[in-house]
């Protein structure tokens, strides 16, 4: 199975990556070379096997619902590309 340019465009959109067709074509060749290696997985008898998401069973980790220390607002905003009045500034999302 190999990815097409159309699938590459769609996947890049899902991943929020602005890439030119030239970049996508380049990537497609590299990815398809790797995908050929993944094909071997398809041949394994895996129908009866349970999937493993972590190497050890990790169950829900609960804790008491208590108020703890949080980052001061200034510290949280210190790395913001743009901030004003204690808020992150982003491009307009809702049209006028």
């Amino acid at each position: 199975m190999a990815l097409t340019l159309e699938q590459m465009r769609h996947t890049a959109k899902l991943a929020r990556l602005e890439l030119s067709d030239e970049q996508l074509t380049d990537l497609m060749h590299a990815i398809n070379a790797l995908m050929a290696h993944f094909e071997r997985l398809q041949a394994l008898p895996l129908d009866e096997v349970e999937p493993t998401s972590h190497s050890f069973p990790v169950y829900n980790a609960f804790r008491e619902d208590v108020v703890g220390a949080t980052l001061p607002r200034e510290a949280a905003l210190a790395n913001a590309p743009e901030a004003r009045d204690g808020l992150f500034i982003v491009p307009r999302i809702v049209e006028e």
Partner: protein, 492 residues
């Protein structure tokens, strides 16, 4: 002063305790050495000389007050994917080029409390994705054994800094071999602890079901000392495990009589260079001669590991790296394009080619219609691999094999070949998929380049892994040779 720099962490700690040198003098000597060697090696992204001197003064005050702990006053350095409060943490990515964390990673906090002295943040492959440190967005790091060669990756800066004596120990992270592979390439010791042994809070996430933090050091003893400082349950990392913490130095027993070592035959196939296999076989023979019981074992699923890894790790990465959107921190590009346009432009500009490749693979593998064919299959393959490890560990106490199929390759040699570079991790990846502890110790040289012996243990049995590594170190007697990496003409 130079001979002090080539000492092990345990040895320099003794000198500090006995007041043969002060922590400030040691920090100054280390910083001077870094200035001399760093132009050739380029292991650092952000050196922190001022911080180092400040921490050295604090450490000396504690030494003066009578405290005698093994990391107190010892210069160490950190991979640049570990958050350090107030010190730039870039992950070797343009997207985080200006990111200054407001908090410390748990391991960083633990080292601070232990009194270690931070000399800087180390180069790596961008977001820990790579095997040569060539995917750093900033610069290439060179192998102290041969400056034309890579130090390995992704913790290439961490390994090169230890090999070139710019720090007595460093921390790295290992998702598919990123501690053990560069350790092998640079002739240092490197340990990936069991998944859950060390908190990942404050480690910039790549593939969360695989990532683990661990030490790179000059000796197995030093490795045990650093491990002692960083283990433990952390309420900030739900996957960290509550376990009684042994003193890992108790594992430093020069005796492995009766220890059952398995030699997984698949780890000597898969493109392993005959000279590397020979060097490792020789080491295994020596371990047998001092009383280890050696037997061949088989892990057929290991040969599927690369395929499993390159679905699971990109899938997790595509999710983890979704947070870099130009809104709250890091790079922002194209704010005039609206909020979606800004995210798309920021991410395409800020991420390098390898990271973008993995995000695309992961997004595709998780996308509707393909999930069962790729992601689910890979997770099931992982189960089979884990079961095979479990069954092998019924027969043996630890596994021994090469860390990498070849010694360090040349800079630029594999950078354009999507599969060849990834094969450098083919012997380390199975250990991450199964969550096991894995140690690389230097075991000899091929063409003047270090070769690593990998020791793989049962879950949470770092003790046996360290014991085998320590015993090997005592028989191998490579310490003098390892002290002087050839690429630096002695010490530079």
């Amino acid at each position: 002063m130079k001979e002090l720099l080539t000492l092990s962490l345990a040895e320099i700690s003794q000198k500090l305790h006995q007041r043969e040198i002060s922590a400030v003098e040691l920090a100054e000597a280390t910083l001077t050495h870094i200035s001399a060697v760093e132009p050739q090696v380029q292991a650092f992204l952000t050196p922190t000389p001022e911080l180092a001197l400040e921490m050295a003064q604090q450490a000396q005050a504690r030494l003066d007050a009578g405290e005698r702990t093994p990391l107190l006053g010892v210069p160490v350095a950190l991979k640049d994917n570990l958050c350090t409060a107030g010190v730039r943490t870039t992950c070797a990515s343009r997207i985080l080029h200006n990111f200054v964390p407001p908090y410390d990673a748990t391991v960083v906090k633990q080292l601070r409390e232990a009194g270690a002295v931070f000399v800087g943040k180390l180069n790596m492959d961008e977001f820990a994705m790579g095997s040569s440190t060539e995917f750093s967005a900033f610069h290439v790091t060179r192998n102290p054994w041969d400056l034309e060669r890579v130090p390995g990756g992704s913790s290439g800066g961490s390994a090169a800094a230890v090999a070139a004596h710019m720090a007595y120990a460093t921390l790295g992270s290992d998702t598919g071999g990123s501690i053990r592979q560069p350790a092998a390439f640079c002739g240092t010791v490197g340990l990936k602890p069991t998944y859950g042994r060390v908190s990942r809070y404050g480690l910039v996430a790549y593939a969360s079901s695989l990532d683990q933090i661990g030490p790179l050091t000059k000796t197995v003893e030093d490795c045990a000392i650093v491990l002692n400082a960083i283990v433990g349950k952390d309420p900030h990392d739900a996957t960290s495990v509550e376990l009684p913490a042994p003193d890992f130095r108790d594992a430093l027993i020069d005796d492995i009589k009766g220890i059952r070592l398995g030699v997984p035959k698949e780890f000597f196939a898969q493109g392993v260079q005959p000279e590397v296999a020979e060097t490792v076989q020789k080491a295994i023979g020596l371990l047998e001669s001092v009383g280890a019981e050696v037997q061949e074992v088989s892990l057929p699923m290991a040969e599927q590991s690369l395929a499993i890894y390159y679905i699971l790790a990109p899938a997790e990465c595509s999710s983890n790296l979704a947070r870099y959107d130009g809104v709250r921190y890091g790079l922002r590009v194209g704010a005039e394009k609206g909020h979606i346009g800004m995210m798309e432009a920021t991410r395409a500009t800020g991420f390098g080619k390898e990271v973008i490749q993995r995000i695309i693979i992961g997004t595709y593998a998780l996308s509707s219609g393909y999930y069962d064919a790729f992601y689910l299959k890979a997770q099931k393959g992982r189960t089979l691999l884990r079961q095979q490890f479990d069954s092998v560990f019924q027969q043996v106490d630890a596994l021994v094999c090469p860390t990498t199929p070849t010694p360090a390759f040349k800079i630029g040699e594999l950078v354009d070949d999507p599969l060849a570079m990834k094969l450098a991790d083919v012997l380390t990846i199975p250990v991450n998929l199964a969550g096991l502890p894995g140690l690389s110790v230097p075991c000899g040289f091929v063409d003047g380049l270090p070769v690593g012996l990998q020791i793989i243990g049962k879950p949470f049995d770092e003790m046996t892994v360290l014991r085998v590594g320590y015993t090997w170190e005592q028989i191998a007697c490579l310490q003098d040779e390892l002290r002087t990496p050839r690429g630096l003409g002695g010490l530079g």
